[in-house]
Amino acid sequence: MKRIVALTLCLLLMAAVVFTGCAKETPAEEPAPADSEAPADETPAEEPAEGVTDDPDVSVLNLWSFTDEVPNMMEKYAELNPDFALEVQPTIIATTDGAYQPALDQALASGGADAPDMYCAEAAFVLKYTQGDASQFAAAYKDLGIDVDTLLTESAIAPYTVDIGTRPSDGALVGLGYQATGGAFIYRRSLAIDTFGTDDPATIKGEIGPGWDKFYEAAAALKEKGYAIVSGDGDIWHAVENSSDQGWIVDGALNIDPKREAFLDLSMQLKENGYYNDTQDWQDAWFADFRGEGPKPVFGFFGPAWLINYVMASNCGDDPDTEEREGTYGDWAVCEPPVGFFWGGTWVLGNKDTKIPATVGDVIEWITLDSSDTGLQYFWANGTLNGPGGTKDTVASGTVMAKSDGTLDFLGGQNMFEAFVPAGEFANGKNLTQYDETINLYWRDQVRQYTSGEKTRDEALEAFKQQVRDNLDVVVD
């Protein structure tokens, strides 16, 4: 008897749980989109929403990022705004191995008190958060109380950052970057003098380009001296990827741009001729090559200004605590790359469900749209965010660039803006897709299969297509 009672109770409990689960789901969804759409309908296009206020009970600002850049900016922001009383809680997950996206998606979808109030997205996947599968989580800048139209003109923001950050479903601006990420070729002066007899950027740019054929001629010349022209094939990949005419997906179908397909052969050439140290970007051996500690000294790297600022400086003997500069510090110079490209960039987004929209709006405005001398971009461009003498970067605002100075000790006194500002014209959002990071992961894996001799060229291409077919909602022929 008891057994029967227990069993019925059990079944009832089960049923109760199953049904409460169902009940919870439906109502939670219905009102949410209705709520967020209502105010958007009332306010015309890019007028800032009025009366944006914070929930006074919230004492924490959750910030998600893939580097410590934006979290570090918050320290400066707090210093400039003494009444900023929130505790910044940064969550930093590197994009290495594609780890950042799944974690961020989970955090955004779950919501609640620990959901990100502000989050960053990188060029390789920003479209997903501004225009693609995850764009519904982003707050329109105007709903955060930002006067978008006026500030965009005032700061002369690079148009491609705006294009990428605009959500097509409602035409609202939801994300902006603070950098301009046009790329250049960053090379070692000492190796240039040894090989080409000069370290003058104007001459070196003619030695390594234009075009990949000239680049490989230079590689051969460097090899005779015992130098590698690049560290790994990942270095040229970024130049190849972002100089291509079309992205991975065109009209919902996988598209392998001829320039990207040619990467198979470019990579093979590097391998067969021993033009590189065969490293993978973002791994220990790659960092060692900045210091010149790899098997062969590496001539140069492809990168935008942030590569110098964020990656190279700290790996080339720049110790911010002492005045001493060791290693390859000061031995670098920047010149025009063999093909124009851009790489990366951080876009800053606000969560539409944040409880502190006014603060998030203020912070985002300060980072992305403030072109004054106390705006983030002015500090960023002049390397004064953490006091004078920091590394500098090209920024999105033309107004700020016009009044900034790009002279760097790291580059032996060269003004890097000379090389990077013209490179900005190559930055566009036309060959980006929301799945770039995932597709690139598959592509690079298969290219390595080909170059290491495990597969033929066709087998590698076929396996790549199969991986895309398996995991993405994309038509593959």
Partner: protein, 323 residues
């Protein structure tokens, strides 16, 4: 038979409530949900609305026809076998040594703790650690091999398919043999000691005792080890995912990594992932059944059969008599 008076049964129910509740909320509901969405078109980040496919088994057919899923099944089976065979052999050997009363090994406790140690470290940590060990072109293993003159130049270990699979299998083996050993030792200690005494008096050697007394008496424990290890092996996820992202070229793509990739990367095919999970459930259930069948006590089964036929015969006899 039933005694009147205090019943302690209600305490049993009381104490089991926390488990039952946790199970219902955190396990039964997700299981039911997964089963349902396997038949639907649910996909896309943050989406929760779905409709059933007219062809209910569309996802299942798609998964079963997917070459990558088949490949991942083969990988999983291969890696599990590569890890389980050395694991059970070493665990049995250690069990034999530790329980051998003639050897009477000193400091057994310390040894057992040390052998169990790898299991305490998080799998994620070990995977990342091994990834760093086998780094290319610079990494501890390459440095040692080159300096010892065993290799002329650095080798890209993680780029080789078999090396990657071997590494995953080795990590699994290294992490779990201590656990298996502890379970087996517990099983041996549960065997009636008089059996061993009798064998000793009859002059059995250590090897004979092991093969003719210990092993047959361990049958149920062996079945337990086999089934749990198989379930664990077929659900292998963290090591292959973190060591090399299921790569190179899908060489360490296990079914669980495949399911993860379907559900939490790219376009998020939740329904396909659910279907693949259900397929894995069926496969595991069938294989477990096979193991139970293989490991059954044959003598006992025979005995039971005879008994049953005897009873049947008796009944028939009785019926005939009554007629």
């Amino acid at each position: 038979m039933r005694r009147k008076g205090v019943s302690y049964a209600k305490y049993g129910y009381l104490f089991s409530i926390p488990f039952v509740l946790a199970f219902l909320v955190f396990q039964l509901y997700p299981i039911a949900y997964t089963t349902i969405i396997g038949f639907t078109d649910l996909k896309g980040l943050g989406k929760t609305d779905f409709s059933f496919y007219p062809d209910l088994f569309r996802n299942f057919k798609m998964i079963l026809n997917n070459p990558t899923f088949i490949e991942s099944l083969a990988n999983t089976a291969l890696i599990w076998i590569m890890n389980f065979i050395p694991q059970i052999i070493l665990a049995l050997l250690l069990t034999a040594w530790f329980t051998n009363r003639r050897l009477n090994i000193k400091g057994q406790g310390a040894f057992k703790v040390m052998l169990y140690m790898p299991n305490i470290i998080t799998a994620a940590t070990i995977a990342i650690l091994f990834n760093a060990f086998f780094g290319y072109p610079m990494g501890p293993v390459n440095d040692i091999m080159v300096n010892l003159g065993l290799q002329s130049e650095p080798v890209y270990y993680l780029q080789s398919k078999m090396t990657s699979r071997g590494l995953v299998a080795f990590i699994q083996f290294w992490m779990w043999y201590g656990n298996t050993m502890i379970v087996l030792i517990a099983g041996v200690l549960g065997i009636n000691p008089s059996l061993f005494e009798a064998a000793e008096i009859d002059g059995a050697t250590g090897t004979q005792t092991f093969f003719h007394i210990t092993l047959p008496s361990l049958r149920t424990i062996m079945l337990y080890v086999l089934v749990t290890s198989m379930i664990g092996g077929l659900n292998m996820f963290d090591i292959p995912k973190l060591l090399n992202l299921g790569g190179p070229d899908n060489a360490t793509l296990t079914t669980s990594v495949f399911i993860y990739n379907q559900a939490f990367q790219g376009s998020r095919f939740y329904s396909r992932a659910a279907a693949a999970s259900m397929i894995m459930f069926v496969i595991i259930a069938i294989l477990s059944g096979v193991l139970f069948y293989i490991m059954r006590d044959k003598d006992e089964a025979k005995l039971r059969k005879e008994k049953r036929s005897l009873i049947k015969a008796q009944r028939a006899e009785a019926r005939r008599a009554s007629v």
